[in-house]
C-alpha cells in the first residue's frame, strides 16, 4: 500500500458566474490512504462540497492534479469519469437521492445496471448489500414507505454494492434526527472497520468525531489537517463491551 489512494496537488476550482470568477478551491494539496476515515469540515462556502464532488469524479478541477489510485483523472472526459464513478466510488448524499418509484432492491441495483452486470447477479448482490445494512426485510419497499434512516441505509447499500475503493458521503446525517444520524454513523464506522475508505463532509463536530482524521477547510484552503486519535465508534464499542462485561 505504498501509493496513496488519493493524491491532490494544488487543486483549484473556479466558477465563472458572468462578470466575476468565484474561487471555490484555491490550491488544495493532500493525500488520503486506503482504509482511512476522513471527515472534511468547514463553514458553508469553504469549498468542502466542491472538493467532495471533485474527489467523487462528479466534477473536474480547474487546475492542479488529482491522482486516483495513481492515475491522473483531472482531465478525463464525461464518460471516463462516469466509468470511474460506476466502478470505484460509492456516493451517499444528504438528500438520499433515491429513485422514488423504484423499490429498495431496484435502487441498489442501479449502478450495476450501468456496469452491465446480468440481472440474476445484480439481484443477488443488491440483496446482499441491503442485508449488510440491515434492510434484508425491506427489499421491495419504495422510498416513501421507509423512514429517513432506512432511506439513507438504502443509499449506503447502493454505494456498497459496487464494492467501491472509496465511499464518499456529503452530509449524510443532515436530513436525519439525532438517533437515526447516530445509527448511520455507527454503520459508517463499521464499514470502515471492515476495510473501506470513507471520506465524509459535515459541519457538525460530533459527526466528525467518528472519523480518524479531520481536515478543516476555510476559503478554499486547508486550514488544518489533524488526526483524531480516538474515533467515536471505538469509544462506543468500548463502552458497549464494558456494559456487556458489567452485566455479566
Amino acid at each position: 500500500m505504498d501509493t496513496p489512494l488519493i493524491v491532490l496537488e494544488k487543486l483549484t476550482k473556479v466558477y465563472s458566474t458572468g462578470a466575476e470568477d468565484v474561487y471555490a478551491l484555491r490550491g488544495i494539496s493532500l493525500q488520503i490512504r486506503a482504509n482511512e476515515f476522513v471527515a472534511i469540515m468547514g463553514p458553508s462556502g469553504s469549498g468542502k462540497s466542491t472538493l467532495l464532488h471533485i474527489l467523487g469524479c462528479l466534477d473536474s478541477p480547474t487546475s492542479g492534479r488529482y491522482l486516483f489510485r495513481g492515475r491522473d483523472v483531472s482531465q478525463l472526459n464525461d464518460d471516463e469519469l462516469a466509468r470511474i464513478r460506476n466502478r470505484e466510488i460509492g456516493f451517499v448524499f444528504q438528500a438520499f437521492n433515491l429513485l422514488p418509484r423504484a423499490t429498495a432492491l431496484k435502487n441498489v441495483e442501479l449502478p450495476l445496471i450501468y456496469a452491465g452486470v446480468p440481472a440474476e447477479e445484480r439481484r443477488q448482490r443488491a440483496r446482499a448489500a441491503l442485508e449488510a445494512v440491515g434492510l434484508g426485510d425491506r427489499l421491495s419497499h419504495r422510498p416513501n414507505e421507509l423512514s429517513g434512516g432506512q432511506r439513507q441505509r438504502v443509499a449506503i447499500a447502493r454505494a456498497l454494492v459496487i464494492r467501491p475503493s472509496l465511499i464518499l458521503a456529503d452530509e449524510p446525517t443532515g436530513n436525519l434526527d439525532t438517533a437515526s444520524g447516530q445509527e448511520i454513523m455507527r454503520l459508517f464506522s463499521e464499514l470502515w472497520s471492515q476495510g473501506n475508505t470513507i471520506v465524509l463532509v459535515t459541519h457538525e463536530e460530533y459527526i466528525a468525531r467518528y472519523a480518524q482524521r479531520i481536515i478543516r477547510l476555510r476559503d478554499g484552503r486547508v486550514e488544518s489537517d489533524t488526526p483524531n486519535p480516538e474515533p467515536l465508534s471505538v469509544l462506543v464499542t468500548a463502552e458497549d463491551s464494558h456494559d456487556i462485561a458489567g452485566n455479566s
Binding site: R83, F93, N97, R101, P118, R122
Partner: protein, 414 residues
C-alpha cells in the same frame, strides 16, 4: 452499450409513457394521422395495382389489338372519330398478311340486341363475333364448358360462349351449359362460360356473348361495323417485332400514303397502366403530402413533449449519471422513449386503418373485388419503421440535452 443498460432504457421509457399515458396519446396524434394516411394510400394503390395486373393478365400481356379506337386516349378524339372503320375484308387481309405473330383473330361487336333466356330478357349484353382461335387467348379461356371449334365456326353453328356476368344474369343459380338462349330471335345453345375477367377498369369483358363470326354476319350484317384484330405475339419479347409488322401490314391494307399518319391504333393491355398513371399519381401525391404534413406536425409535438420529459426528470438524470450512467445510456433512454411514443401512435393508426379497410369493403359494393380487407403487411412494417425513425429524429435534440447535463447541476434541480 450493454444488454442490462438497453433493457433498463426500455423499461424506463415504457414506465414514462405509462405514467403519462393520456399526454403521450395526445402527443402522438400527429404521427398517428401521418401513419394512417400513408397506410391508406398504400392500401388503395395496392388495390389499384392488383386490379390493373389482373386486367392486363386477362387481356394478355403478349396481345396487340389493332383498332380504330385508341385505348389510351392519347390521340385526339376528333381525329379518332374521323377514322374509317376497319372492314371485314381489311381484317382478313391483315390476318393473312401477318408472318411474325403466333396467330391473329378478328373481333366485331354488336350492342343492344335483344337477348332472352327463358323468362329473362336483356339488351345490355354485347354480342361478339369471332373465330375459334379466340378461345386460345386469355380473354377467351373458358371456366366451364368450352369455346366453339373450328368446325362450328365454318358451319355457322348457333352456339354461344357467355361472359361471366351475362351467365349470372341470364341463368341465375343455374348451370347454363346446354341451355337455350335467343339472340335477336334466333336460338343458340350455350356451350361454355368464360372465366371472370372484370376489374374496376373494365367490366366489359364479362358482358360479352361470343358467337361464331359467320353466325354474327348472318344476324347483324357487316355494314357500319369496325373490326378489331386481336394479335397474339407469342411472348412479351416478340411484342415490338410483331407491333412493327402489324403496323406495316395495316398501313398497306388501309392504303396509306408514306407521309400520311396512321388511321388506326395498335393497342395493348399495358395501355391501362398509362390510363391509371394519373389516378395513381393523384392518390400517391395526396397521401404523401398529407402524411408529410402530419409527420412534421407530429414530430414538432414529440420534440416539445420530450423536452418537457427531460426537464421533469432532470433530477433522475443527475442521479443516474452520478452512479455511472454514461452519456449514451441517458441519450438511449430518451431516444427509446420518443421512438416508443411514435410506435404507440403508429400502432393505433394501423388498427384504425385496418378497421377503415374492412368498413370500406363492407360499405361500398364492388370495392371488395380489388381492395384487400387489411393493409398489406409489408406496408404496415414500413409504416412502423418510418414512425420509429420519426421518433428518433424528434427525440434527438432532447436526448442530447439530457445526455450532456452536468450531474451536480442536475442533482440540485428538484
Amino acid at each position: 452499450m450493454t444488454l442490462p443498460e438497453i433493457r433498463e432504457a426500455v423499461s424506463v421509457a415504457l414506465e414514462a409513457i405509462r405514467l403519462n399515458f393520456f399526454r403521450s396519446l395526445l402527443t402522438t396524434i400527429g404521427i398517428a394521422i401521418g401513419t394512417l394516411f400513408v397506410c391508406l394510400m398504400a392500401w388503395l394503390l395496392y388495390g389499384l395495382d392488383t386490379s390493373l395486373n389482373r386486367t392486363i393478365a386477362s387481356l394478355g400481356s403478349d396481345m396487340l389489338y389493332a383498332d380504330k379506337w385508341d385505348w389510351t386516349g392519347r390521340t385526339r378524339w376528333t381525329e379518332v372519330r374521323s377514322r374509317k372503320d376497319i372492314t371485314y375484308w381489311q381484317a382478313r387481309a391483315v390476318i393473312e398478311g401477318l408472318r411474325t405473330a403466333e396467330f391473329a383473330v378478328p373481333l366485331v361487336w354488336a350492342r343492344g340486341a335483344r337477348i332472352s333466356a327463358g323468362p329473362i330478357t336483356t339488351t345490355d349484353a354485347v354480342v361478339t363475333g369471332t373465330l375459334s382461335l379466340y378461345g386460345k387467348t386469355p380473354s377467351g379461356t373458358t371456366a366451364a364448358g368450352r369455346f366453339f371449334s373450328l368446325a362450328e365456326d365454318r358451319s355457322a353453328t348457333p352456339v354461344a360462349v357467355l361472359g361471366y356476368k351475362v351467365a349470372q344474369q341470364l341463368f341465375p343459380k343455374q348451370n347454363p351449359l346446354g341451355k337455350l338462349l335467343h339472340i335477336a330471335g334466333i336460338p343458340f345453345t350455350v356451350i361454355g362460360v368464360v372465366e371472370q375477367q372484370g376489374t374496376i377498369f373494365s367490366s366489359f369483358e364479362d358482358e360479352q356473348i361470343f358467337i361464331p363470326l359467320p353466325m354474327f354476319v348472318r344476324l347483324f350484317g357487316l355494314t357500319k361495323r369496325s373490326f378489331v384484330i386481336a394479335v397474339k405475339a407469342g411472348s412479351e419479347e416478340r411484342l415490338e417485332l410483331v407491333r412493327h409488322e402489324l403496323r406495316g401490314v395495316m398501313r398497306r391494307v388501309r392504303g396509306l400514303a408514306p407521309e400520311a399518319p396512321d388511321d388506326f391504333s395498335i393497342n395493348e393491355a399495358q395501355a391501362f397502366r398509362e390510363q391509371i398513371a394519373g389516378l395513381r399519381q393523384a392518390v400517391w401525391g395526396t397521401g404523401i403530402s398529407m402524411s408529410m404534413l402530419s409527420f412534421v406536425v407530429g414530430i414538432i409535438g414529440i420534440v416539445n413533449i420530450m423536452f418537457v420529459s427531460v426537464a421533469e426528470r432532470t433530477y433522475e438524470i443527475g442521479l443516474r449519471k452520478a452512479v455511472g450512467a454514461r452519456r449514451r445510456s441517458i441519450a438511449l433512454q430518451f431516444l427509446i422513449e420518443s421512438a416508443l411514443l411514435c410506435l404507440v401512435g403508429a400502432s393505433a393508426a394501423l388498427a384504425i386503418g385496418n378497421a377503415i379497410a374492412l368498413l370500406v369493403r363492407a360499405a361500398i359494393p364492388g370495392t371488395g373485388e380489388f381492395l384487400t380487407p387489411y393493409i398489406p403487411p409489408h406496408h404496415m412494417g414500413i409504416a412502423l419503421v418510418v414512425a420509429s425513425t420519426a421518433g428518433i429524429i424528434a427525440g434527438w435534440a432532447p436526448a442530447m440535452r439530457a445526455a450532456r447535463l452536468h450531474p451536480i447541476v442536475a442533482l440540485r434541480h428538484e
